[in-house]
């Protein structure tokens, strides 16, 4: 990240990137709405949506096309955008907060903490007097608790003389990650068939359960916290120079840190509850954005939100069509597609720094 800080980008270029990415997102949304088992063309997509929100009343599409688009594809597209954006944003915040380019919700155990609590909820949930409808609302909260506990624990463990030490943080994170994974394994060992099958969904990530209720919940618990994080971008910028400097600049560092950790845990916990563990988006997207539009956190966070959403949408659409009518878990795609891309970017920026 220190190296990337040298990489300055002009304002014009930055707006160009942001504008271009918004156009690409729009194209990606319409394309994703068109592709699938059932053929729906672009004009039909537009007229179905405008009819559903009460603008027009055209009949150039069939009822089945409207059902598929409105009940299945559209919620899924929105979930991909929201969750991808949230994860990328949380990744960028954690990288800035802990001043470590390697930090990612999946790597330091935040995601597996959320998954552990989700699995516990699944296995023990049978004993609770609950219904499927209630689970939709409780699961995000339970996962948030798991994500929050792990983030807090890792952060506390990494403290050396009051400041978070990067080596300790990574090691503690990896240890907690392993602990959570083994606890999940232990829980599943005593669980029944159904719980185990539910769990495979969690480890690889999957957006196929998308519905409008879930879109609504992730809007509140993922999108809004992500936007709130942007408010702290100045403090994150100051933190990049050093914690002491940030304090001397007058920033309420401790308060900001606590808020950001809670917000990250909320975003990651809810994402895990909605779509399982989706890796790599939180690690790669912020780096990509930094290379493209520079290092200020307000830009990185907003850029990550847009780019992360786009990345997840593309990955999900590929996963949806590549083995149709079956589906490939999204976690496989994000890792498969984004790692070579990231390595290519890395090699490219390496050349720029060579003399």
């Amino acid at each position: 990240m220190e190296l990337l800080a040298l990489h300055r980008i002009s304002k014009d270029k930055r707006y160009l990137y942001l504008g271009a990415s918004l156009i690409v997102v729009t194209i990606a949304v319409i394309t994703a709405a068109m592709i699938g088992y059932m053929d729906i063309n672009a004009i039909q997509v537009v007229s179905i949506v405008s009819q559903k929100i009460g603008l027009t009343n055209t009949t150039n599409f069939s009822t089945n096309q409207a059902i598929v688009l409105w009940n299945y594809r559209l919620p899924r597209i929105l979930m991909a955008l929201i969750i991808g954006g949230g994860l990328a944003c949380a990744g960028a915040v954690l990288q800035g907060l802990l001043r470590n380019p390697l930090v990612e919700p999946g790597l330091i155990g935040v995601s597996s903490g959320a998954a552990l609590f989700a699995v516990l909820f699944f296995v023990l949930g049978d004993q609770l007097p609950n219904s499927e409808a209630l689970a939709i609302y409780i699961l995000p909260i339970v996962s948030f608790l798991g994500a929050f506990l792990v983030t807090f624990l890792v952060y506390q463990l990494s403290k050396v003389n009051g400041a978070s030490n990067i080596a300790f943080l990574l090691l503690a994170g990896i240890a907690i990650n392993a602990l959570c994974t083994s606890l999940i394994g232990l829980t599943l060992y005593f669980a029944d068939d159904d719980a185990i099958r539910n769990f495979t969904f969690w480890t690889l990530g999957n957006l196929s359960g998308a519905s409008w209720i879930k879109v609504f919940i992730s809007l509140i618990l993922v999108l809004i916290p992500s936007i709130l994080m942007v408010r702290y971008s100045k403090i994150l910028d100051a933190l990049n120079i050093g914690e002491e400097v940030a304090k001397q600049l007058g920033a309420n560092v401790d308060m900001a840190k606590r808020m950001l950790i809670v917000l990250c845990a909320l975003v990651v916990g809810c994402s895990v509850a909605m779509a399982g563990i989706i890796g790599f988006v939180g690690l790669l997207v912020p780096h990509l954005v930094r290379i493209l539009i520079g290092n200020h956190h307000s830009h990185v966070l907003i850029g990550s939100m847009i780019t992360g959403g786009l990345a997840l949408l593309v990955a999900d659409t590929i996963g949806r069509i590549i083995v149709a009518p079956a589906e490939l878990p999204i976690g496989i795609i994000t890792a498969l597609v984004s790692t070579p891309f990231f390595l290519w970017l890395l090699l490219k920026s390496k050349k720029q720094f060579a003399f």
């Binding site: 969904f201 359960g209 009518p325 079956a326």
Partner: protein, 116 residues
């Protein structure tokens, strides 16, 4: 009619052409709604809506894994079909339905009556 091999809501396979389920549906005088692929494939909501089956056929074990007929008919994709509108789920014991043993005639007759 659509045959669903279910083991919980995350493990749903549809019987396509040339599967035992396909043959049993034919024997009972029905039409398999999944007629554009061979073998068993995972259920896709979009494909199910497009196929629009009138009846969903499951094993009784599959029915239990989905918590009864309501569970079957509220599955993504199935919920929008004619079968869900008319609440038409037929559940039969696995070996009896698709064992093709001595009881095959009886099973076919029972299925034929159930879908009439």
């Amino acid at each position: 009619m659509l045959f669903l091999y279910a083991r919980g809501s995350d493990m749903l396979m549809v019987g396509g052409k040339d599967t035992p389920a396909d043959h049993m549906i034919k024997l009972a005088g029905g039409t398999n709604a999944a007629n554009d692929f061979n073998n068993f494939k995972p259920l896709s909501p979009e494909a199910a809506i497009e196929a629009n089956p009138d009846v969903i056929l499951v094993f009784d074990s599959g029915l239990r894994s989905l918590n009864g007929p309501e569970g079957v008919l509220s599955l993504p994709g199935i919920a929008e079909t004619n079968a869900a509108k008319n609440k038409k789920v037929v559940a039969m014991e696995g070996h009896y339905l698709l064992g093709f043993g001595p009881r095959v005639g009886k099973a076919a007759l029972e299925l034929a009556k159930a879908i009439r």
